[in-house]
């Protein structure tokens, strides 16, 4: 039984959460609208003079625009390939009887726990030997393999819930195998696959260790790595505000995805981990 008072308390708690989660993002946005000269002189939360200059600077900096293209391209390609691979495995685990099912799931779990940095040294060597250092595939391959565990669990938890017998039912009703698959199974599986894609994309978009270790130039450097090495438009300018403008640019797609697909992300994150 909820009394009016406890209702207000929960509402207050909700409000506190909102402030806590949004505040740092708002701070970055505020910084991105400050003039570079304000840093070190005017210390406050809000900009004294609002300006779009930082965004102009950022989009005129080749380092950033190249990194943005790299990030988008590499993350999208890794997401597509990763999700296709994960879907195949998850389908096999959910529907087929074969030895090594448990082993595959445990192996994926082990990969998820792996300290990435331990591998970076040897990968650095290997990639230089085979010519993958500082290339798109050089990042796409590690992204796929480290995003796969989450995608595999999410999808196999999801596929387990699909009433596969509906496929046979459709065939009995006269549908061909392909029709039954396309009209019955695909619509049921699509939300899960889509959720896995979002989580995989977040993972790739977030990467930093591979980004700074396996790249050395504009050719493949991704945004988080570029941000960490960004020193400003000129030697005499604080890079702070420009970094924040760049940060806002790469945060916008994340915010849009979260706003649009909140429910699916929550379902994906929890279904693989603890079954509700």
């Amino acid at each position: 039984m909820e009394t009016a008072r406890s209702k207000w308390l929960w509402a207050l708690a909700s409000l506190l959460i909102l402030v806590w989660t949004v505040f740092p993002i708002l701070w970055i946005v505020m910084l991105s609208f400050k003039q570079p000269g304000e840093i070190g002189n005017q210390k406050g939360f809000l900009p004294h003079h609002w300006t779009w200059d930082n965004y102009r600077t950022v989009f005129k900096t080749d380092l950033f625009t190249a990194a943005l293209v790299n990030s988008i391209g590499i993350s999208l390609i890794a997401t597509v390939i990763g999700v296709v691979f994960a879907t195949l495995v998850a389908y096999a685990i959910a529907r087929l009887e074969f030895p090594g099912k448990k082993a595959i799931l445990s192996f994926a779990l082990a990969i998820a726990m792996f300290p990435v940095v331990s591998l970076v040294g040897p990968l650095f060597d290997l990639w230089r030997d085979v010519g993958l250092y500082d290339t798109w595939p050089g990042l796409i391959i590690p992204y796929i393999s480290f995003a796969l565990p989450l995608a595999i669990w999410t999808l196999s938890a999801f596929f387990r819930e699909i009433p596969w017998e509906m496929e046979q039912a459709a065939q009995v009703d006269g549908a061909t195998t392909w029709q039954a698959f396309r009209k019955v199974i695909v619509p049921l599986a699509a939300p899960g696959v889509f959720t896995a894609a979002i989580l995989t994309f977040f993972f790739c978009w977030n990467d930093f260790v591979f980004g700074i270790s396996l790249t050395s130039s504009d050719r493949a450097r991704v945004v988080p790595a570029a941000l960490a090495f960004f020193t400003g438009a000129s030697e005499f300018q604080q890079p702070t505000t420009a970094i924040c403008a760049a940060a806002v640019v790469v945060t916008v797609p994340i915010v849009v995805i979260v706003l649009a697909f909140q429910r699916r992300i929550v379902a994906g994150l929890t279904s693989g981990a603890v079954k509700g």
């Binding site: 685990i93 994926a108 331990s118 596969w164 693989g272």
Partner: protein, 317 residues
């Protein structure tokens, strides 16, 4: 569900065994075939480099002087383990991990309770919680760094701290690092706990209330024991994650002020100093520490990983 369980096991001793095992064999082949691409990619990126790291950790080897490479046995491990810097980094990593996980568990639980109970703006709260989860860690690190920074920050003037230099002391730097880490990863914890809360049978809590239990007693005796599995899974994942902390340290302090973590030490040795042999030895030690933590959790606390994989059936309760 049914498709999985009615599929014939290999070698069923029934009469139509031949026919079934034929089908079974085709199914096995298909299963392995479908799993192959993912398993191969995961192996390429982890197994070979790990073996390579193990091998090279036995050599004195720098990229800058490849001809001087020579076998030194376990000497690199001796060097690492007898270096006070290594143990200082272990301590830093441990403190960051311990504080982060402890605080996240408490805040995460509070967040989960609010999401579970709130009637008002439930959707908004869930959406807001997902924002930090989606934000790039490096960006979170910049946000917190700049908030506390002497040049750009507002924290000191808001709280009347004057010119307190957060990044010139070990523990104050670590405080900011931990804050960023907590902000970024608590959502993950809270979502796992929220799923756990949903599993707690509601009538148990009501029965306890009727019996006169206080809210605190209900929490301790009913809610928490019933979601133990979810809590353990969250703690295991977050512990291993925090133990590998790298991005926040890199952006905020670059390991200055004794804030270097084990991941950062490995990175600095292999990539920055190109002392491959020694760096790989540290990397292998980091790997072993992760394995140790995982084993302690899984064996010691009996974390049910079947649950982590969503394998537990619905009808067990």
């Amino acid at each position: 569900m049914t498709a999985v369980h009615t599929a014939p096991a290999a070698g069923t001793p029934a009469a139509p065994a031949a026919e079934i095992s034929d089908r079974g064999r085709a199914e096995r082949r298909l299963g392995l075939l479908l799993s192959a691409p993912a398993v191969i990619v995961m192996l390429v990126v982890t197994a070979y480099p790990l073996v390579n790291a193990l091998y090279l950790s036995l050599f004195s080897y720098r990229i800058t002087a490849p001809d001087d490479r020579r076998f030194v046995g376990l000497a690199n491990y001796g060097t690492a383990l007898s270096d006070p810097l290594f143990w200082q980094d272990v301590l830093t990593t441990f403190v960051i991990t311990f504080v982060t996980v402890a605080v996240e568990l408490v805040i995460g639980f509070a967040l989960a309770m609010v999401m579970h109970r709130a009637v008002f703006a439930r959707r908004t709260v869930r959406t807001a919680i997902l924002l930090p989860y989606g934000i790039v860690t490096v960006i979170s690190a910049f946000a917190w760094k700049y908030a506390f920074d002497l040049q750009s920050g507002f924290v000191n003037s808001w709280f009347g701290l004057g010119d307190y230099a957060w990044f010139s002391g070990r523990w104050s730097s670590m405080t900011v690092i931990v804050l960023s880490e907590i902000w970024k990863t608590t959502p993950f914890v809270s979502l796992l706990l929220l799923a756990g809360l949903a599993q707690v049978p509601g009538d148990l809590g009501e029965a306890a209330t009727v019996d006169g239990a206080t809210a605190w007693q209900r929490l301790r005796r009913v809610t928490i024991p019933n979601m133990k599995a979810a809590i353990l899974v969250a703690v295991l994942f977050r512990t291993l994650d925090a133990w590998r902390i790298f991005d926040n340290v890199f952006v905020m302090t670059s390991g200055q002020q004794k804030t270097e973590t084990l991941s950062f030490l490995t990175y600095r040795q292999t990539i920055t100093r190109t002392a491959i042999g020694l760096g790989d030895a540290v990397g292998v030690l980091l790997f072993l520490s992760v394995v140790l933590i995982a084993v302690v959790f899984i064996k010691g606390f009996r974390v049910d990983l079947a649950q982590a994989r969503g394998e537990r059936g619905g009808g067990e309760k």
